[in-house]
Amino acid sequence: MAVIEAEHLSKRFGKKVLAVDDVSFSIEPATITGFLGPNGAGKTTTLRMLVDLVRPSGGTIRILGSRYRDLARPTTRVGALLDASGFHPGRSGANALRVVATSAGISYDRVDAALEMVELEGAARRAVKGYSTGMKQRLALAAALLGDPEVLLLDEPANGLDPEGVRWLRTFLRARAAEGRTVLISSHVLAEVEQTVDDILIISRGKLLAHGPINELTRTAQPVVRARAPQAEKLEGLLVAKGAAVNRLGDALAIRGPGSAEVGEIAHAGGLVLHELLTEQPSLEDLFLQIAGTRKES
């Protein structure tokens, strides 16, 4: 049985903003699913709809078989990191968690355990206003873990974490999935989650563009040809004229469409010198740009 099911989910803010548009997906147990899309794509709104903080304009959501509000002691079933700034600045980290624990009927032992899990036990007695962004992020993660939930919903959890923190988060999430927990993690930094997730959902402008295992999706994506040329701008013009999608940074080009042989032939026909030409399997970022680009064109 799917842990999370959304069917024809939509959310409209006012008359003009359609934040989520007819989105349907399901998340299987014990997987880490990346919920990817640019800023403003509708990721946060979707996550908030899953836990009843935002009312859908249409469609249905089931989480662990029922609506979030119908779950008994919901924070012991579903842990959510949605807002790292959602703590009173004058309250200590430990007290912030104790407030959450008390209202959810969770023992204070779990507060200590969660603080230890996010390596924040040394700062537990300090007021939250003295925390760095990364520390607040860890505290929010601790709040999500308080009830030892089987489902974790994490909205941009790597925000404010330093590279060491991001690595720690990756290891941490892998460990949770190994325990059989289901994780839905949103991010707009694709490289950040590429090494962490099993499945991905790609959303842009409120529309779900792709959903499936990351390996399958990247395998079916077009390979990317990378080239370096002293006259990169001229080469870009020739490639675009042939219908290729090109991203250029200085003398480096990332080309989608033609294969490396064709790129070489186009450069040769134009009398251009190439310093590098290779074919790469697409990264998650390439896949996203392909899918989002296709969508924009259609």
Partner: protein, 250 residues
């Protein structure tokens, strides 16, 4: 529900807001009482008027409690803690009801402490002016009891207003402007309407006077004022719950 009650009490204990409000309430209780005992003639501070002089600051205490109630609810939105509150208790009506109950109780206790403090100042201060401290009689105790109940009602009213309007500064400023400027003007110019306005109704639970103007004949009886004040709290709370259940927490 008991978990929610305990969580609300922990919220109060774990920040300095309640402490700050308590200090402010103590100051507005102590200062008027001390100044009046020190500077009013002996003939005024002795006898029947002593209880009223000692508790001169209690109306200010009720305004502090009103703001305290507003902060208790709007603070959740201002600091974003409402996200965790509603994640733990998705039935939002329960959150608001528990807050109303807790803050009403806190308001009652705060006023009780303020009255005790005022009388302590009387016990110490009046003999220093050569006036004996008159122990409160039945009428004074009944008046104190009404002040305690009204303090609870006003604190709960602050919570209900905070739940309805959310924006902290706007709610505090708007409520105080209404209570201290607009309502008194309506009472002066249209006393028959003013008698039914919320803060005047609360004051009529304590006394038959409608503000400092108008006559008792134009006011409500105490039971009427009590019922109307409960009606105000219930109406604003029901509206707040209704709107909160439909409001997105973004």
């Amino acid at each position: 529900m008991s978990a929610l009650l305990r969580a609300e009490l922990l919220k109060l204990r774990s920040t300095r807001t309640a402490l700050g409000m308590g200090i402010a309430a103590a100051l507005v209780t102590i200062l008027p009482a001390v100044l009046l005992i020190a500077f009013l003639p002996k003939s005024t501070i002795g006898g029947d008027q002593a209880p009223g002089i000692l508790t001169a600051g209690s109306s200010l205490v009720t305004y502090i409690l009103l703001v305290f109630g507003i902060l208790g609810m709007t603070g959740e939105y201002r600091h974003g803690t409402i996200t965790y509150t509603y994640l733990a208790t998705p039935r939002r009506g329960r959150v608001i009801v528990v807050k109303l109950v807790v803050y009403a109780l806190v308001g009652c206790v705060a006023m009780l402490l303020a009255l005790l403090l005022a009388n302590l100042i009387g016990v110490i201060g009046l003999p220093m002016r050569g006036v004996s401290y008159p122990a409160p009689d039945g009428a004074a105790l009944a008046d104190y009891a009404r002040q305690i109940v009204t303090a609870g009602l006003i604190t709960a009213f602050g919570v209900a207003l905070g739940a309805l309007f959310r924006a902290q500064v706007v709610t505090v400023a708007g409520t105080l402007i209404w209570a201290l400027m607009i309502e008194p003007l309506i009472v002066v110019f249209k006393p028959h309407i003013g008698a039914w306005l919320p803060f005047n109704v609360f004051s009529q639970v304590i006394s038959l006077r409608i503000g400092d103007t108008g006559s008792a004949a134009e006011g409500l009886s105490r039971p009427e004022a009590f019922l109307v004040s409960i009606g105000y709290i219930a109406a604003v709370s029901v509206l707040a719950v209704f709107i909160s259940m439909r409001r997105d927490v973004t």
